[in-house]
Symmetry: D2
Subunit: 440 residues, 4 copies
């Protein structure tokens, strides 16, 4: 018999005294519900302390050392303010969804692994699947959620997967103006110290209104939303896609590729990639996944600096000591693609493996999109609630948003190790030619 069976269910159980977390972005995070308090105390949630919110960005903006734990509390706090201070008592709002919103907000990033962006790309992982697995699997998080009600974990997972039937609830966590984005823009701006990323969140919260299908924004708050969209745009190009950060990510990706390659090729590691084995085999289980955080990853990178394989060792040294790749602009035109082929040949000649040392990286973002039904990656547009009760899509009201709406911006860069090319003790002429091609 399960010992928990006898435990009291706590859908609405409150803490005897409100708990607060001091938060530099929202000043305080307030917790009154026992279930939230217990979720924060689970080991799966505490694990988020060992995963940085911005992956390799700290190598560009040294202040950006904050974790996903940080951000998750922030998203929770924003949703709490929306449902408790803005939605409570309004017609289209169902108070029974309150706890579900709070839990989904808190747990939405639960499945992130170390340096998710790179790991997901290399190993074809999907953090959302892991989020689901943690919520539904045999975990402390699941045990806490189950005490609310039998099907509560499933509901939380559905909200995060955007399949939950109440679309209003979904839109609080995932839409073009959700609590997730609002928190990360403010938080990442705070920790990096950049002045972009600020917008008047308090104003936006005040003008949010619940509608059946999604949260909408009162027309009087349109300018605050414009400001938010511009902040998002700036943060993407100034911080998230910063070319130096991408250089670190390129190296990280190549470390993972190399280690996997060596492992599958039967290379004998001095420090065998125990924690990565199932990843390399493509059959990672939840239990293993939960053990893989950034401390563990960095442990391996540190150790692998001393591996005999020159490429793995070099890439790990680069990552640990921030000896990053340099870059030049790159356009995927016929002409430049031909140059890339030529460079690839020259790199081989120079004894520098182009698979690891000549890398095109592309970043791309759509600052805001109106509704394009049927298209891939359909995005829910932002609706304004007009004084007459009508809804209007944002880009029809805002000149500025209209101007940038639906316009994808893409940037390509070619990364390579400048120091290798500068070392003219070997292959002097080939290297000179490479440099000519790169900088002509």
């Amino acid at each position: 018999m399960d010992g928990r069976e006898g435990e009291r269910l706590y859908p609405n159980e409150k803490l005897s005294e409100e708990k607060v977390f001091k938060d530099p972005v929202h000043r305080y995070v307030h917790v009154r519900d026992k279930v939230i308090w217990d979720l924060i105390g689970t080991k799966e949630f505490q694990r988020l302390r060992r995963i940085k919110q911005l992956g390799t960005t700290y190598l560009t903006f040294h202040g950006a050392e904050h974790s996903r734990f940080n951000h998750s509390l922030g998203v929770y706090e924003i949703v709490r303010r929306i449902v408790d201070d803005v939605f409570a008592g309004r017609p289209d709002w169902d108070e029974n969804e309150r706890l579900l919103c709070l839990c989904a907000a808190l747990l939405h990033d639960l499945g992130h692994g170390p340096f998710s962006h790179s790991f997901e790309k290399v190993f074809h992982l999907d953090h959302e699947q892991f989020t689901r697995a943690i919520i539904l699997g045999d975990t402390e998080v699941n045990a806490v959620l189950r005490r609310v009600s039998f099907d509560f974990p499933k509901k939380v997972a559905e909200v995060i997967a955007k399949t939950y039937e109440n679309k209003l609830v979904v839109s609080l966590i995932s839409s073009q103006i959700d609590a997730d984005r609002m928190d990360y823009l403010l938080r990442d701006a705070y920790y990096t110290g950049v002045s972009y990323g600020h917008f008047d969140m308090e104003r936006i919260l005040r003008v949010m209104r619940p509608r059946e299908e999604q949260v909408v924004i009162k027309r009087s708050g349109m300018h605050a939303v414009e400001d938010y969209i511009m902040s998002r745009y700036q943060m993407y190009w100034q911080v998230y896609f910063h070319p130096v950060t991408r250089s670190a990510e390129v190296i990280l990706t190549k470390i993972l590729h190399r280690a996997k390659h060596l492992y599958l090729a039967g290379y004998t590691f001095q420090t065998p990639p125990v924690h990565f084995q199932s990843l390399f085999h493509g059959n990672m289980q939840l239990e293993d996944y939960l053990k893989l955080d950034e401390a563990v990853t960095l442990y391996y990178f540190q150790q692998w600096q001393d591996e005999r394989d020159a490429i793995l060792s070099d890439l790990c040294c680069r990552f640990m000591h921030r000896h990053l790749f340099k870059y030049v602009e790159f356009q995927p035109t016929n002409e430049e693609m031909k140059k890339l082929v030529e460079l690839t040949t020259l790199f081989k000649k120079a004894g520098i493996d182009p698979d690891y040392y000549l890398v095109v990286d592309s970043s791309s973002d759509l600052p805001y999109d109106f509704y394009r039904p049927g298209e891939e990656e359909e995005r829910l547009p932002i609706y304004l609630l007009m004084p007459n009760g009508e809804l209007r899509e944002l880009s029809r009201e805002s000149t500025i948003v209209d101007a940038i709406s639906g316009k994808r911006r893409t940037d390509h860069k070619l990364y390579f190790p400048q120091d290798f090319l500068d070392d003219l003790s070997t292959k002097r002429n080939v290297k000179k030619k490479i440099k000519q091609l790169l900088y002509e």
Copy 2:
């Protein structure tokens, strides 16, 4: 023949263009000197990214995840502003000491290891010795410093060790109002999000004046200094000595004790403490030390959760998942010491090893001290430069500083695992008695 021998020495070599780091506390950190740029790029300095500025504080204030790398750049920037914007051109200031000040500021914390406070206590280490060793040893940092001049590393080490002959230079880095303290107060306040810790640093910098023996403060800036001292006081008691942080530190300390004990007792680890061996033997070398950062430490703690030894495993789980000890106030009076003895006996009876689970922790601080010649840990007082050119010790001018000057405040707490005591499935009566004693 050393390849570096032919390299150009660069005492005053400037970068072709000033480099800046975006910093959330000082807005920008400016680097013009090539030697500073090169020092930042060394692997020993980059290693500071993997050591948190505030050790276990992030378990209390989740925002406090910033590293010593962060802080070191900040101290450098403050000293740079003092020497370039305030001291430059003033009589008592020797421009030849400029680069020395900058390097010493940047490197002053270089020898810190993971969770220094706990490691130093348990293993009787001294981070200042390691700082010295890194600066003078066979390191990238030393190679950069040597290019300034043959004896430059030695000078830098002396400034940090406070033995350098020019006491003014020393006082910029280590005194009761130095760049180190100013940066950490502001920075730790920023990252934790507390409102203490703010003071008008810009004002203080403007009124600093070089004197032969130390930096002094113009009388007109006295109130800013009072504010700084109060900030320091509040940060110590609100943040640095926070009882929850100390609980995490107690657990960390006990993990280290247990692991050492097991190792020396011949216990067979599933994950042997390779990186800790020399520490346990008391003969740690620089090379090993540099490999020991917080990622590595957390890797072991993660692994040791699965060790067979119940105490090591439990303590590691506690640390990783933040299941901390609770505490009660404790006064080292005869009566309470007797109670502690009694509790020790009862813990043993209850099967809870008091060596690891019943811990008195004491914190103590002196917010400001005037000069007490000859006393142990002599502290340089702060001098005010009066309009007539005279110097007066701060506490003689400031009512508020006088009120708290020389008054040591100490706090003792008794830590223990509440959850063990709450589990009444075994030793019910002993545990009840323990609780009675603790909370009576």
Copy 3:
């Protein structure tokens, strides 16, 4: 028949939609009660826009141009947060007092006149009497308050006069840690731009608890209160008592003295002091008082620059163009008093009227005081609510507050027109002697 008779009474009438004021200190000021909205719209309250919060301080800190209107909204907002977010639902709190608290907070400074400090001193006015008169007299404010209930204006006046029977209500507005002080410290710091004056108000609000006799503070918030008291101390000495501000006040005071003197002596003004007449006669009525704001006062000062009376004209020019008096330190010792007598004689000899041009100004403050029953100007001490439910007076718990508690600090300065003394075209020798005496 009174047109208002038929109007609906509105003790709990809410606005159809909450109104907000953007406030730089509290971000937003929220108004839901119609009575508050209507009070803000009265002409007596709007008049506070024409009275600066910090009198002559803007001549020292140019940012300090904010009005009492500003501050009054801020005090209201703080009290609103206390009663709505912290007190609501707690045992010792009577929800029926809510609206009274809000109105008293909003109106507490209603009776302030232009440059109150100086006007009150010269004309022996009491702004609290005028506050009472406005609330109880034939005013728009009274008409709004009366619609709550017949005796509501009286109650509001009593709260502000500290005679209301529910002392808890009084203590929210007037105690050593009230909404008035919290707002002005934060606000004045914001507008002057000084870094003192910051403290964690949100924390203090969270730990405030209603008790029968007064608001008390939970022990866990003690450090935030310490910080608040230190901020207050610094703001007094750095901002409110700034010697340059006092110089402007000295001149202002002397203008008023001179104008009164001339008026009573039958001097024929080019611009007769119409708005001041009743003040000069000592029989000012409410109606006249309400017409006297800082715009009107400055109008006269501007005009009086062209009066034939050399003293009035000179003092007005000084005030308008910020040609202030210089100062030297002054101690009211026998010796210095003798010097002052000597200086008085010399000023007369030099043809500079010492009644207007040689002024001792004293400032004095008690940063915090414990309870001294029976003493004049008895001050309610701050009580901490201990975990065991007991109350302890703050200075018994806090080392820092104890250190400064009850210690009055006083500062005297001697003001005079340096430019007159520098003009050596007349009375050269006397002026030289004066300068010798002043600066010896």
Copy 4:
């Protein structure tokens, strides 16, 4: 003989000690040049303390009570940082222009009168002419400037008039990214408390470079400039063109119209408009202009509340007690123009003079414009300095700026006194009809 003739000229005379002003926006304003110090002390400059930076905006955003004195110091400080910290020593920069830049920055708004926007419109004044007149006329400012050199006042006036031959100098004060705009955006955001208006000025300053014809921006700072342009856009529509502020401006304008009308019609004022006479006659002289500040203006408005003329009295009451006009949207289409004619007739019928009580107000702004040679009000575009040394116009590089470039946005509103229409004791039916027309 002029007493000043013997005085020392001070082109480069420095103060014995740098003076600082505490400024909430730039932290400190630094003054080292004696000429700047002396200019600040002139009565013409001190007069700017009595003229609000944002006119009637304080009636919408209560925090916006700051003066043009404030802003002028800020513009000076920005220019000082540019020339001293960024331009000094660069090729295209002529150090001899330094003092000229500083003085022009400080004095650029010197000719502003009370509520300039409205006064200029009603009386066809031009503050730039008055700036010129103060600088070149018989004033304290002129006397200070002349001591630099005989033709220095003329040069300062030319820079402000944009006719100075060195266009780089002009562009620092007047261009699409000048010190004036940067200061007012940051300052007005600070005082109103809105979150728009922030951008990374420090970054922009760092990337400004002197070129022969104007200041240009390094390409790497483009995003900071985008952010600045968006801030400007938001501030215009959220703050400067706020419909409530415009309501106050409409009333103010109508007061001036009415007073002039009455004066010219021979109406006998109880408080005759002495300070306005020459304005009404259209022959205002500098001396009179300098006496006309906002204190004087408010004095008259206060007095005129009691005039017998119902319109003047009513409008003054409205302005003093913030009983503003309401508004509805208005489009200058044929249809709506016809409606306006109809409304005009109905207002007359209702006994409400439409000349004063039915007002269309239009606001219009162009957020950024590229170069349109030959067009009226030609605006200098912002040029980016590309890594290869080339200059590119901003909108060709920035998608976002391109999207809004050259797009004028205009807004029309129709203002009227709702309270008059709500008073149904007279002309009930006409008023009902008016309301129907307004709100249909």
